[in-house]
């Protein structure tokens, strides 16, 4: 055969050598990621958000708790923020943030889908706020700003997710066409998933090996990007661990004092730097309950609920053990802006209606609605004091004290 078709034979022999080299590289990269992930956890690394390799290493590490979220995680730079607060493993674990401004439920679903079976039995925290359900729809620029092809391929071609979940994700992803412009193959696959029929299902199954192959290539590229990062930065994999008992009451008092120093120019607990956004709105009194109908209509119809359902389906199908960690609405501030407490409760009711069927742990901090220092603004971005409550919850969740 070699004599008749020497090039074909050589080509065929090259393939297993190439596959073996790729497997070797994958193994080497995963061992490096596992070795360095604890040291990388407190750092804000773009590849941790935009790739999957570090996220996969994090969920597999027994002393790391990944927290997925948005601006409520990243907006206030404070030592009370979980990934800094738990940096020295005071109670035996640290937190890794997979968070970015404008990151929504659908982006989190894509990120988590990419972890596949690595998520099975693992604890993850999904941080949400009432804002995307009560104040404004997910904009294309926020979605695009957090979109990566790797995560898109991982959710759409995942062999671990049901067709229903993938179809729901596809339908939503088609709402952001700018992210699909450069990828007609993915766009076509999304369109096929979105319109279930025999021919479109057949198309999906024909497209699947190509999509999965593309995902494998991107996974290897992700590993290469992590290795390049490690080579470019001198990271010491040996981390300092300092076990101690946390004085939660003292920490809360200190955080409150600090928060008050940043909230001096208004009676609603809004951070001084953000108050100018509300000053004009509240310059003349608003009729109580004036905005109730509009608010309730908005909450009931918010698209973010559908995205949250996709996220919950992904978590359920991959066997994760999630904690859905919401934030309280600032009752007094919302009331001043014309939305009564009764109307505000629509959010909490809907949140539990949507999450209920998935049988997940949900904490909404509703009882802190009258605490003006829990958040820094109407969008429930977590304050220094709010972070202490969150930290305590994370500690309880990690150690199995929340059921």
């Amino acid at each position: 055969m070699m004599k008749r078709t020497p090039h074909l034979t050589a080509g065929i022999i090259s393939v297993p050598i190439l596959v073996a080299a790729m497997l070797g590289f994958n193994f080497y990269a995963e061992s490096l990621e596992s070795k360095y992930i604890n040291a990388l956890a407190p750092l804000d690394i773009r590849q941790a958000r935009n790739g999957s390799a570090l996220q996969r290493a994090a969920v597999q590490q027994p002393d790391l708790l990944p927290i997925y979220g948005s601006s409520e995680i990243t907006m206030v730079a404070t030592d009370y923020q979980a990934n800094i607060f738990f940096q020295s493993y005071p109670t035996g674990f640290a937190v890794i943030d997979i968070a970015n401004l404008g990151m929504s439920s659908i982006t989190m679903a894509q990120n988590l889908a990419a972890l596949g079976p690595a998520l099975k039995g693992r604890k993850v925290v999904i941080s949400i706020t009432p804002a995307p359900f009560t104040m404004g729809a997910l904009s294309e620029q926020y979605y695009a700003g957090n979109y990566t092809r790797l995560h898109a391929y991982e959710i759409i071609f995942s062999p671990y997710l049901s067709l229903d979940t993938k179809s729901a994700a596809a339908k939503r992803m088609l709402d952001f066409p700018s992210t699909l412009q450069a990828d007609p193959f993915l766009k076509l696959t999304l369109a096929a998933l979105n319109k279930p029929s025999l021919p479109t299902r057949m198309f999906y199954y024909i497209a699947w090996p190509f999509g999965e192959l593309q995902a494998i290539v991107m996974r290897l590229q992700d590993h290469a990007a992590v290795i390049a990062y490690l080579q470019a930065h001198s990271i010491n994999p040996d981390i300092q661990r300092e076990a101690r008992t946390i004085d939660w009451s003292g920490t809360l008092t200190a955080a409150l004092e600090e928060q008050k120093m940043h909230t001096l120019n208004n009676p609603y607990g809004v951070e001084d730097t953000k108050w100018k956004n509300y000053e004009n709105l509240l310059s003349s009194p608003i009729v109580p309950g004036l905005g109730d109908n509009r608010f309730i209509r908005y909450v009931q119809g918010a698209r973010e609920w559908d995205d949250l359902k996709i996220l919950l389906s992904v978590l359920q199908e991959l066997g994760a053990k999630p904690l859905i960690l919401s934030r309280p609405m600032n009752i007094h501030l919302w009331e001043a802006l014309g939305v009564s407490e009764q109307a505000q409760n629509t959010f909490y009711t809907k949140l539990h209606d949507v999450t209920g069927p998935y049988n997940v742990l949900v904490i909404d901090y509703r009882e802190y609605g009258t605490d003006i220092y829990f958040s820094i603004d109407q969008a429930s971005h977590t304050s220094r004091k709010g972070w202490v409550y969150v930290d305590q919850t994370l500690d309880n969740f990690f150690h199995g004290r929340i059921h």
Binding site: M2, S14, L18, N50, A144, Q221, A224, A225
Partner: protein, 54 residues
């Protein structure tokens, strides 16, 4: 003189079926490695945007 010897070495090597096969495999692996070096770098950048809150 050394060019002649080198040419003879390669000519002899290429007529040996085993060496020829090995060289061909290496040739294909080199092509693949070249392609990976040229086009293998992934792009994980995201579109820049200005966060304007909710």
């Amino acid at each position: 003189m050394w060019i002649k010897r080198l040419t003879t070495f390669f000519t002899d090597a290429y007529t040996n079926p085993k060496i020829k096969a090995t060289l061909l495999v290496l040739y294909y692996l080199a092509i693949i490695a070249g392609l990976i070096i040229m086009y293998g770098k992934g792009d994980f950048s995201t579109v820049k945007f200005v966060y304007q809150g909710f």
